[in-house]
Symmetry: C2
């Protein structure tokens, strides 16, 4: 039986999602908990919709794994949450057909990036939002964002150290909304390159403080050169929010 | 010069506010940062409006200390925040007259207690709100709360291990409001006994799940016996929110 689960994790104390020798990762904790549940010496392999970086959070990451256990789907979150550390939680589980694949069946992903602009640091947000205490021109940020919507070669918005050759992706939606204490960037796309969302967030924040004009983002895109785009915003403001599948 | 500061701290990694040998405390970190700022071998004593327990947070704790330094008041938060660990932040500072005392000048304190009732744990709230996934009758909780408003002997709502003899306090306001994902208790009073707010929160949650009737709170109060009241809700849902002074 194949199970599809929606999970959330606080990325603060993880070295990212993917298993890395000697490092604490989300995948490692999931596979350990599943091995206990299956009374198995061997790992139960878990597939996710994709990796997230060190410090990056997930409110709606999706995984799948195969299991011989006949636990009812709605009981799986309770069974796993009892074994998982408290910075990972299974929010929902459903039986998927065998053809389902957490990564290759995904048709769209949604990320959100949180910024707060208060004068002084907020201790309760220090791991969960980027403290950017500048006056921001949100209109300019929205203007700048428009240049990135659509299908483009996002080489300028991809970390240099990547093996991926084809850097064409499609961004469906990219907007900034004001929250009680700052801003939230919401972005959906066909898929995302390494650090792409964080570079976009950093670049649009540069537009917000007038370091670049909104239209410069267009030439940044066309340059196809990482050096052309702005800074990489820190990981702790970023959340994999949702992964969408064709039902 | 006496300085009055409003500070916040995330109680999760502290053994409470007050200095304790060999333990990490808020007061210890404050006094260390001040000693560095004053280039002093000795501690600069800090006085707070009162102690908070291990795991308990503060959004608006108030402290005072005396200093010969002539740093403008609005610069003190920046100077201290640069030296403090990131789970303590100075939010505001002002020069107080010499007669001001963070504890004895306080006329009213406000605490808030956060509960969330979602089915599964929320990793982002695990240190910041009490996960109480039961259906709650908020109306009963409000009815029960009414019995505690006013001036009473709160022995039943005070931890047994306390040296305080006089347990008469006045509660000015006590109400529950619904939040996006649970409930928030807001309580203001003349002062609070050891664990008093957490015992009140636990007892009113008992009323919310029908374990006690709202009117039983009245007899609990009259019993003047800790055993008569309900459970002590966990510390991580509790925040010292505000301390009020006669200006």
């Amino acid at each position: 039986m194949r199970l599809k689960c929606t999970i959330s994790y606080d990325g603060h104390l993880f070295n990212g999602y993917q298993v890395q020798p000697g490092k604490r990762t989300v995948q490692d904790e999931l596979e350990k908990a599943l091995a206990v549940l299956h009374k198995s010496k061997d790992r139960i392999p878990v597939v996710s919709s994709g990796r997230t970086d060190s410090g990056v959070h997930a409110a709606g990451q999706v995984i799948h794994f195969d299991t011989p256990l006949s636990i009812p789907a709605e009981r799986w979150p309770y069974a796993l949450n009892a074994l998982l550390p408290d910075d990972i939680a299974v929010k929902q589980a459903e039986i998927a057909d065998d053809g389902f694949h957490a990564r290759f069946s995904a048709v769209k992903k949604e990320y959100r990036y949180f910024v707060y602009t208060e004068k002084h640091p907020d201790v309760f947000k220090r791991h969960y939002a980027y403290h950017f205490s500048y006056r921001l021109n949100v209109q300019d940020m929205r203007e700048a964002a428009k240049h990135l919507i659509g299908t483009h070669d996002f080489t300028s918005f991809c970390a240099a150290k990547t093996e991926v050759q084809d850097k064409v992706r499609t961004i469906y939606e990219l907007d900034w909304t004001e929250t009680a204490d700052g801003l939230q960037m919401r972005i959906t796309g066909s898929g995302f390159l390494y650090n792409m969302v964080r570079i976009i967030a950093g670049t649009l924040l540069d537009a917000g403080i007038g370091k670049i004009s909104p239209d410069e983002v267009k030439s940044m895109l066309e340059a196809k050169d990482r050096e052309a785009a702005g800074r990489t915003a820190p990981g702790h403001g970023l959340y994999l929010w949702n992964v969408y599948y064709d039902n």
